[in-house]
């Protein structure tokens, strides 16, 4: 398993497949607002709505990577703004550990992204999808890391 980016060969016509976990109250609403505002962003992400980012078991992210997601986005309320008071803080605490696990398992940690986007931050949500998509596009398909 290699971390070196030089060896990655990005196949032609390949499009990154991104799974995006969004909390219902902030980021899912922000994604809705992006649509209502006709903000255009890459169509690579598939949004999976959860009530709160606190619902997200690190296992959900690892499993997605294992099943072949090229990138995983987690988008929630800003710290302090959680609809459920502190669910996002619980996720943030798990995230620190998760990043280590991902790195140690040999997967490029740049494949996962944690962001905060409120219900009014449609542009921030859309930019997050765009940045992760472009980042993952550079890294290449996750299958290339399964050596």
């Amino acid at each position: 398993m290699s971390q070196s980016q030089n060896e990655t060969v990005v196949p032609e016509h390949w499009e990154p497949r991104i799974l995006a976990y969004c909390c219902n109250w902030c980021s899912y609403a922000g994604a809705d607002l992006a649509g209502t505002s006709r903000i255009q962003y890459p169509p690579n992400a598939r949004i999976l709505r959860v009530n709160c980012t606190g619902r997200i078991d690190p296992e959900f992210i690892l499993a997605a990577l294992e099943m072949g997601a090229d990138g995983v986005l987690v988008s929630g309320c800003h710290p302090g703004d959680c609809h459920y008071t502190s669910g996002n803080l619980k996720l943030r605490a798990r995230w620190a550990l998760l990043e280590k696990v991902i790195e140690q398992s040999g997967v490029d940690p740049r494949r996962v992204r944690l962001q905060w986007a409120s219900a009014s931050e449609a542009q921030i949500f859309a930019d997050g999808v765009k940045e992760l998509t472009e980042q993952v596009r550079k890294i290449g398909p996750i299958r290339s890391e399964w050596k």
Partner: protein, 583 residues
Amino acid sequence: MMGDKVEPRIGVFVCHCGHNIAGVVDVAAVAKMAMSLPYVVFSTDYMFMCADAGQQLIRDKVKELNLNRVVVASCSPRMHEPTFRRVVEESGLNRYLFDQVNLREQVSWCHMRQPKEATEKAMDLVRMSVARAAQLQSLPIKSVNVTPRTLVVGGGIAGLRASLDIAERGFEVVLVERLPELGGHVRKWTHLFPADESGAQIIGPLVKDVEKHRSIKVMQNSEVVEFGGYVGNFTAKIKNHETGRTKSVDVGAVIMATGFEPFRPFGYYGYGESPDIITLAELQELPPRADLLRPSDGKKVNKLAFIGCVGSREAGKQGHEHCSRHCCSAVAKAASDLKDKVGEVMILYQDIRTYGRGHEELYRLARSKFVIYSRFPKDSKPDVQVTANGITMRWYDVLSGDYLEFEPDLLVLASAMVPPGDIAETAKMFGLTRSADGFFNPEHIKLAPLTTHTAGVMIAGAAQAAKNASESVVDASGAAAKAVSLMARGQVEIESTVSHVIPELCSSCRTCVTACPYGAISMDKSREPAVALVTEAKCHGCGTCAAACPSNAIIMYHSTDDQIMAMVEAFLCTPAQVEGGTA
């Protein structure tokens, strides 16, 4: 929860939403693809699923084909999930046996120029939803009692009107006002449009009625310091700043009428550099008298100037992008009133928006009194210099195409309406979200402007957006009606999406007890060893406990691990993908 052992029979309904979805996404292809998915026995595309005919189609197909799961691929579930849940229920199914796919806000509207990719995304999302639908379980429909009392936060014109409306309908109100006096901003204002009454004349009788009403308990000098509970059953701790005492009240509904703050425009047009440069709010608060005197030396004002849109309508500046809506009419009113007391009145504006009933007449009145309106370009704001000799304004007048100068004795800045400085803390306490302008977010801007995503918490007046007094009163009566209908029913259905501990799997580690933000999980000591137990009434359904449990002993109903993983798998492990195809 309830055993749904029968094999799933899923119906998929793909909505065109007129041209909104079908204009980008190949809805027929999506519906056709859905037919090939496991457990799907019916799939179609249809013009408008939310319309009566669309709803009837669901009911008919459920009966005809004995469907036991329904997937609608249409707009955001934040819009029509309640509609379709009701339809599913009318078809004889449990409302939780429904899942919605967001093909409009999250597909067609944000990938308008990529129909092929949008269609692929739509197919993936439908595939995910169908996989989830197969895992859905019926949940019991639960009702709770509603405490017949409403908390109104804020004693301005909106809070007062809402309190009176509720009390007159026979319910109790607790009205909390931070300041010693009721009446909010309106009480202090001298030029209130469109009528010729002052703020005090308007608000006086309202305050009196509120204070003498026996169903309204007014708590002045007080603030809500703690807030918890759920629809119908909230508890607020209210602290009196004078006595330092805290009182706890139980309420069934809440109306947030926390209003606004006039923006203090430091850095704009010399504000703060001269006592003779004031905001419109400060002008309104000058004690009424025969002459208009300037604050610096008490001399009579002969030349008066206004500048509009100060801190409003600034594209790209967060919290200042909105139109403050009251200022054009308020300036027209103040200018025509004051024209009788001063020699010259000059109004510098970008645009004039006197949109309400009776407002245009004020603009015409100002014009007929020879108030001078001069338009400046948006990208070249007037220049204001403060010297020992006074104030000098210089600007480009659009209509004459020339630079003009004016030396007013008093300059009034029509500054923006912005949210109160502590709105972030208030939003957090009541679980509310905020819009880009900083004010509270309504549940839906068109369909539900007075309710919020926290069931049982309403918003009224300038707490929701920049508004004038008349609009705030309309809101207040509307929000009061919402609160009253909730209390009059006496009972309200609550979400069954709570978490549940499987005692046999619990390892008594207490991780969930500390993870729960609501203190809804405790240890059931009647068991040996004690295991975790969820108090359902306290559970808000965030699922943090389920994610934290190291023993997988917690089920988060309607958001189970199986349901989530089924979606992930449906997206990533479709046969086409395994063969190396790409999404």
